[in-house]
Every structure is written in C-alpha cells, then in structure tokens.
C-alpha cells in the first residue's frame, strides 16, 4: 500500500503532498500533552507492524494497524500516519518520498473512516472493531486501485481487491482482539482524550 515514486506524475504527487500537509496542519492543531504519548505509541506500533511482510501470490503484503490508529487517535491519526510514513520512506525506503502525500491521503482516509465507524456506538463493540480494521484497510486499497486506474498503471482492481481483502480480514480480527484486550486491561485507553479547549472550559 506504500506506493513508490515514479508511478504517478510529479505534479499530481506535489498536489497530494500539499493537501496532505494541509490535513496534517489542520488535524494536528492544539494537541494536548496527554495525546502526544498516545500518538507516539501508535506511531511506533504502525512503524513496526508495517515492516513485517507476508508473501501472497508473488507480491508481498503487510499489516498497517490503520483501524486501531483511527480508534485510539481519532483525527490525530492523520498527522501520525503522515509522520510514520515519512520515517518509513526515509529509513526503509518503504514508499516514495515524492509519493508521501498520496500515501498519507490514502491511509489517512482509512484511519479517519475507522474513527468515524468507532463513534457509531449503537453497533456492538466487537463488530465495530472488526469493521474499523477491515474498512481502514479496504478504503486505502480502493483509493489506490482507482489512482492506478487513473494513471493507467498496474494489474487492475481485481488483483488489489483479492490481496487486500485478505489483509483486511486479518486487520479486522487483529483490531478486534487488541480492542478486546484493551477493554479488559486498560479501558481508559479507548476513551477520547479531552482536547485543550474543552479541558479549559471544564476547569473554568
């Protein structure tokens, strides 16, 4: 899911980079100190898990924990995903630097979708967790397939759908397990951290 440089035109990549940086600025405003630690932990987990590959049908796939990032961080997941992708591109050449904006928009959309699904409190928690993991994988994969189609590149939607459906199912199961574990041992982690403005009003 980490697209390399040289696949999309430089102009499109730069526009995506500008939009992604705008998103980072907007969704990274007024971060509370308490949020920073959680963001760092999620970034570390995403960084590590993305480095573990599995061979599937001649290609290689890896997990991303995008659903978990959306659940634990909400909109803060976007700047975290951007920063993690930057480190991956710089240290492991995992995804291109020029394509960083496109990758961040694709995967950031997945985490934001997970954050939205997580707020649907009428759905049982285990089903929500699974949906977060599954759709946070499938949305970026679908966006990537559409982008490949628009660029006239790649093996087509079918191959991507098959490869990432497997990842989505594993992500869904893993997210359900982690959320269930956190609910048992430290449920406070699953609660939203009050934003600075809200905290000031509450104190007043």
């Amino acid at each position: 899911m980490h697209i390399s440089d040289g696949i999309f035109p430089a102009g499109a990549s730069l526009v995506a980079q500008a939009v992604a940086l705008g998103g980072v600025g907007w969704m990274g405003r007024k971060i509370a100190a308490e949020e920073v630690v959680r963001m760092g932990m999620v970034s570390s987990a995403v960084f590590v898990v993305s480095m573990v590959h599995f061979p599937v049908g001649g290609t290689s796939i890896h997990l991303g924990l995008l659903g978990l990032a959306g659940i634990l961080l909400g909109r803060r997941s976007f700047p975290v995903i951007y920063a993690t992708l930057l480190f991956q591109a710089l240290l492991a050449q995992h995804g291109g630097l020029l394509a960083l904006g496109i990758n961040a928009l694709n995967m950031g959309a997945g985490t934001l979708l997970a954050a939205a699904i997580w707020r649907m409190s009428r759905i049982p928690e285990s089903a929500r967790s699974f949906a977060c993991g599954f759709f946070a994988t499938m949305l970026p994969a679908s966006l990537m397939a559409i982008e490949f189609w628009a660029a006239g590149y790649g093996k087509g939607f079918g191959v991507i759908a098959i490869a990432y459906s497997a990842v989505g199912l594993i992500e869904g199961a893993l997210t359900t397990f982690i959320v269930g574990y956190l609910r048992r041992v430290k449920p406070a982690v699953l609660a939203r951290i009050p934003q600075p403005a809200v905290a000031v009003r509450a104190a007043a």
């Binding site: 899911m1 980490h2 697209i3 390399s4 440089d5 040289g6 696949i7 971060i31 509370a32 100190a33 920073v36 630690v37 963001m39 760092g40 932990m41 970034s43 570390s44 960084f47 590590v48 480095m51 590959h53 599995f54 061979p55 001649g58 290609t59 290689s60 920063a83 993690t84 480190f87 991956q88 240290l91 492991a92 050449q93 995992h94 995804g95 291109g96 990537m144 490949f148 590149y153 790649g154 093996k155 191959v159 991507i160 490869a163 600075p196």
Partner: protein, 138 residues
C-alpha cells in the same frame, strides 16, 4: 563488444521495501528482487537500458518465480534497470560496468537496525514534544 570481465559497482537499492541486489557470474549480471530482502518479487516487469541508449530498452521481460532476472551487457558504462510489480512497488537502479574484477552489490542495512532506528526516532520525538507541550501547559 564482448567484455571478458566486468566490474560492477554501486550500492544496493531498494524502494517500497522492494530491494534489488546483483552479482556477476562471468559476463552475465544476475539481479535478485525481494520484498524486504526476503520474499521474492515474482513475475515483476523488468526493463533494462544500456548506457548508449537510455530511451529504448535493451531488454525487457519479467522476473522468474524466485524474483530473479539476468542480462548480458555488451558495453561498459552505467546500465539502468527498472523493476515494477504493477502493484505500487517499483525500483530503479544503475549498475556501473567496467573492465576489471568481478563484483557484487553491497549488503543491505540490517532490518533490525532500521527498525531500532525508526523506533528510536519516534520515541525521541514523542518525548521531546511531550516535554515541550507539558512545559507550555504549566
């Protein structure tokens, strides 16, 4: 022109964790393409460009089931090749071929070292940002 001996210089390159390494077996260059240095990039599209013609490919085709391909350079200079699995993983690399002793690409940096470096940076940045935020809130 047939070169008897080649000297292949250049560092190992990798993109989107698609890593390529090469070595010379006589006058033939053998390239291996692997994801994260382990899983073979099977049947990926390959294009090879000679130093004398950067526009028309000298050879094209696909990697084998083990992610390998080979070619027989007929000139000295920088040979370029592009490997693309058509799923977003792409790498471009150059091999400098000169008369001399046989050589092969250098070893890739340790995966664990990269992992530790990344974690170190993230933890360090998190600590720094937390300290800065906590001091501002006080």
């Amino acid at each position: 022109m047939r070169l008897l001996l080649f000297c292949i210089a250049g560092a190992q390159l990798h993109a989107h964790d698609l890593e390529v390494s090469w070595r010379q077996l006589g006058p033939v260059v053998v390239v291996e393409c692997r994801y994260g240095g382990t899983d073979p990039a099977a049947y990926a599209a390959v294009e090879i460009f000679s130093p004398t013609d950067a526009k028309s490919d000298f050879q094209n085709g696909r990697t084998d089931a083990q992610g390998r391909f080979s070619f027989y350079p007929d000139a000295e200079g920088d040979w370029k090749f592009v490997v693309d699995d058509e799923l977003g993983h792409r790498v471009e690399a150059e091999i400098a071929i000169q008369p001399g002793t046989a050589a092969e690409s250098s070893a890739a940096p340790s995966r664990w070292l990269t992992l530790l470096a990344g974690l170190g940076i993230i933890v360090g940045l998190t600590g720094g940002l937390y300290g800065w935020k906590a001091r501002r809130t006080r």
